[in-house]
């Protein structure tokens, strides 16, 4: 009888367990996206850069307030928008942050930062050079 009770318990427990894991406990997102892809699409459609900056800045505030993780590319996207608005210093800061959060981006971010500093040294607005003109590089 005792054995039967234990077995019954085991049957119940395992049935409950399978229900619990059966749907494969929905994983949680790794990042808090806050409309990153929407803003990327706005950029491709040629919509207002100021509006995109406002949306992305508000997104970062929200992510920080809620303790979430900023997704890959988010800071770099914001940096590119700053560059388009002539805010070179803020651009560099965003590219640095991208690099810190995601060391996988280091090579590309360094490439962009190098182009940006060369652009400003040459007296350019930076807007064309910072996003990476490789032909300029090969001419050197």
């Amino acid at each position: 009888m005792l054995k039967l009770v234990t077995l019954r318990k085991a049957a119940f427990m395992s049935a409950a367990g399978s229900l619990l894991l059966g749907g494969c406990a929905a994983p949680k997102p790794l990042y808090q996206w806050e409309g990153y892809q929407t803003q990327v699409y706005e950029y491709f459609k040629g919509e207002s850069k100021e509006a995109q900056v406002t949306a992305l800045e508000a997104g970062i505030q929200k992510i920080q307030a809620q303790g979430g993780a900023v997704p890959p590319g988010y800071h770099a996207q914001l940096g590119m928008l700053y560059l388009g608005l002539g805010k070179d210093e803020q651009m560099a800061k965003q590219f640095q942050t991208e690099k810190t959060l995601f060391p996988e981006s280091a090579q590309y971010m360094d490439f962009l930062l190098k182009n940006a500093s060369r652009g400003s040294n040459a007296g350019n607005s930076g807007a064309t050079s910072a996003t990476g003109n490789t032909t300029k590089e090969s001419q050197q």
């Binding site: 077995l7 059966g22 997102p29 995601f102």
Partner: protein
């Protein structure tokens, strides 16, 4: 009798507990090169477009980051990458897809590149109703040696709904609803999002493998 039944139930429960999680991968997909390469970062190139709708390339490109990043990869900033190509005179996906893997690796430092092709993007009006369909295929290439690591294709339509339940893709589908809220009037863009999730999410039969930033890395 009762006891046998209970024993059987207990065993079945345990078996189901594990079966719920394991997705059966089709045998024909060869992951050997993928597992050997173990890329950490993915460079998504602007997709080729074989559909009549010019919005296809950027509709797909802007929605590729979410599934790939949630699968555990660093995805290079797609708009910035596109800008870099433009600054170098490469303005069409066709030109960009011709750039050698070594050159891409040199500039972007990515481990792998994703080459996509959109073959269907938009609505086809039929007698009584219209169907919006987005079909795309993708190829993941190791930029360190040019090897193909994975290929796949996916289709989504506005009448197919989301039949994905559980697992990563189920979570992404439900999370994605809020993502495209601002584009409710762009029906094809919304369908393209579903295509992207089906095409580029790990943890499904024939899909890409989980990347290093996922807790499920190397579990597949």
């Amino acid at each position: 009798m009762m006891r046998r039944l209970l024993t059987w139930l207990a065993t079945l429960g345990v078996v189901m507990m594990f079966a719920g999680c394991a997705a059966n991968r089709p045998q024909q997909v060869d992951y050997a090169a993928f597992k050997e390469s173990r890329p950490r970062s993915i460079l998504v190139l602007p997709p080729l477009n074989e559909s009549p709708d010019i919005k296809a390339t950027y509709g797909m490109l802007s929605q590729a980051t979410f599934p790939l990043a949630e699968s555990g990869y660093y995805v290079l900033p797609v708009a910035l990458v596109d800008e870099t190509f433009r600054q170098n005179g490469l303005t069409t996906p066709g030109d960009i897809h011709e750039v050698s893997p070594a050159k891409l690796r040199d500039i972007f430092g990515a481990d792998a590149a994703l080459y996509m092709k959109v073959t269907s993007y938009g609505s086809r009006y039929q007698v009584v109703s219209s169907v919006t369909k987005v079909t795309a295929s993708a190829k993941l290439v190791d930029l360190r040696n040019g090897n193909t690591l994975w290929t796949g294709s996916a289709t989504a339509t506005n009448d197919s709904g989301s039949n994905a339940s559980g697992g990563l893709i189920g979570m992404l589908v439900s999370a994605a609803i809020s993502q495209a809220m601002n584009h409710v009037f762009d029906a094809t863009y919304k369908v393209a999002e579903n295509t992207s999730l089906r095409l580029l999410s790990a943890g499904q039969p024939g899909g890409i493998l989980y990347g290093p930033r996922s807790p499920k890395y190397q579990s597949d």
